[in-house]
Amino acid sequence: MTLARFKPFAALLGLAAAATLALALPSAAQAQDKPKIIRISYSGAGTGGRPITGGTIISTAHQQGVLEKEFARDGIKIQWTFNPGAGPATNEQLANGLADFAHHGDLPIIIGRSTGLRTKILFSYTRFGSSYITGPIDSQAKSLEDLKGKRLAVFKGTASQLALGRILKKHGLTERDFKTVSMDGDTLRAAIATKDVDAGFIAPFDLQARGVGKLIYETGPDPDLTSQGVFWVSEDFERKYPDIVQRVVTTLIKVAAWSSDERNREAQYKLWANSGTSYYEYQKTFADTPLKWRLSPLLDDYFVDNLKKSIVQAKEFKLIRRDVDVNGWLAPQYLNAALKELKLEGYWPEFNAAGKPKLAQK
């Protein structure tokens, strides 16, 4: 009679045991050599948060669907996550184990590594881009000094913040000389249009075309001030599926070659314009430099040196609290293998630490 009291308890125990077994089995079976899904995070999104982007070879690859085609025969799905929250959001995904690969700006991934997030850099995706400070149409400011004490907007925690820091440092200023507000791209554009901020770290062209913005400051393609981005793989994923990593890299480098071909410039702008940023703006922001320079994926001296400098700057601007060690962070073997396989060695010029091409331009 007394034991009957435990009947429901026993049932519960049995259920729990069954559940545990059910959960354990798949993980036992998971010692395969292929993932079911590859998760790629993109530190950005199109206008209004739409899941189409532009401006990088990864955006091109996404729109061309090359990775989906490559892995279709293995039955592996590709899951793209576009983050309107940019770099910081990608970091959170990485921390939660929700991202295998990612497109990421230098500052956010430096921040991530400084807090212990483990990734391997596969290749880079941007350099020598110009930085712009844009103000409302009736802005009287002619230089950064004119903006002192005024409201300056930048997306905090992203590569833009570090780029802004570099620019300010060059002029002997810091973020504290302004009232800095954090805003994402969409919000920033709207804020400039309504004159809610006195200036923002964003390209002026679309705003100028609409008659609501004015360029206040521009760096031009300065190798010391430019921002670079990286494409990484999580250490976990790389350890488990190195061959998949290689295939991803090779596929993307092929796209990079297509992207860097001057003959494809217009077609690429058209693809990128699907993100909501206009053809015109891409045209203007990519005008200054050869595509092979802007979109170079190489992990050359310039890249490594710039990365180390960025780490120092991040610490100086108090954007990270702990030091970051570059050792063991880069995994250039995949890039090199891809270049070899695709016979693209020498296609992209290598740059030295000062940002000058090492050899004569091909």
Partner: protein
């Protein structure tokens, strides 16, 4: 009867006057019509957007989220309120923590929650549940505490089991305060739903996200229409909750309640 009708009409004077002013300002071009859009344009957009389906789909998504969070939070709230009210030791242990955590303003929870759970549904629903939890827990606690000794004695005399005591005495006795708590929770939950959508980005589905997209794309008509819908839902919820609350109090009969 005549007096009633007169008062009704007078209440309309102010809104009508404001509407007229709005129309006049925009028609006479006295204000920046990009910012202060003419009422006609708002109506046109409203029609287009409502029939277009995006707004209604967003509204539906928001309401579902609201319902899910509210149910979870209210349920948990009733349970905790009951526990705290019935058991003195529980109240000694949990009460102070509960009341202290209550002081953390609602939206302060959102950054942490969304970091842990992402910007998807989980974080939003948990946040909404949190917003509904506190008012309901407080109301239930309040109501349970208001059960008098005499009533408990009657229950004992009638030989109620513990479960019967809770179901047939405590909860009904606490019904008015629980109803009040639920009323507040309904309002807070809708507030939390919209607030979370504003703060967690424009990509998701929801009426708040639609408004934020409108703000980003600078479609003021969209913002106004969205706002009106949000306000309308808030009003409907308030009215419904008030009516239910009145029902509960009526069912309890006059002279009962929290002793007023």
């Amino acid at each position: 009867m005549h007096k009633l009708r007169q008062a009704d009409l007078r209440g309309l004077v102010l809104p009508l006057a404001l509407l007229a002013l709005w129309y006049a300002l925009t028609a006479l071009q006295l204000v920046n019509t990009k910012l202060i859009v003419p009422p006609g344009a708002v109506l046109a957009t409203a029609w287009k957007v409502v029939t277009g389906g995006e707004l209604l789909a967003g509204l539906q998504a928001s309401l579902l989220r609201d319902l899910a969070g509210f149910t979870a939070g209210a349920g948990a709230g009733i349970l905790l309120g009951l526990l705290l009210g019935v058991s003195r030791p529980a109240e000694r242990l949990v009460g102070p923590t509960f009341h202290t955590l209550k002081q953390i303003s609602l939206f302060a929870w959102l950054p942490l929650l969304s970091t842990w759970l992402g910007t998807g549904e989980a974080a939003k629903i948990l946040f909404i549940a949190l917003s509904a939890f506190y008012p309901v827990a407080l109301g239930t606690f309040e109501g349970v505490r208001s059960v008098t000794r005499a009533q408990v004695e009657v229950a004992r005399v009638l030989g109620f089991t513990r479960r019967q005591r809770i179901w047939r005495l405590v909860l009904p006795a606490a019904a008015p305060q629980i109803a009040t708590g639920l009323h507040l929770a309904l309002l807070y939950a809708w507030l939390a739903t919209i607030g979370a959508e504003y703060l967690l980005g424009s990509a998701a589905h929801g009426i708040g996200s639609v408004v934020i997209r409108g703000k980003a794309g600078f479609h003021v008509e969209l913002i106004i229409v969205g706002m009106l819908l949000i306000g309308a839902v808030g009003m409907v919820l308030n009215r419904a909750a008030a009516a239910l609350e009145a029902r509960v109090l009526h069912w309890r009969g006059p002279g009962h309640g929290s002793g007023h």
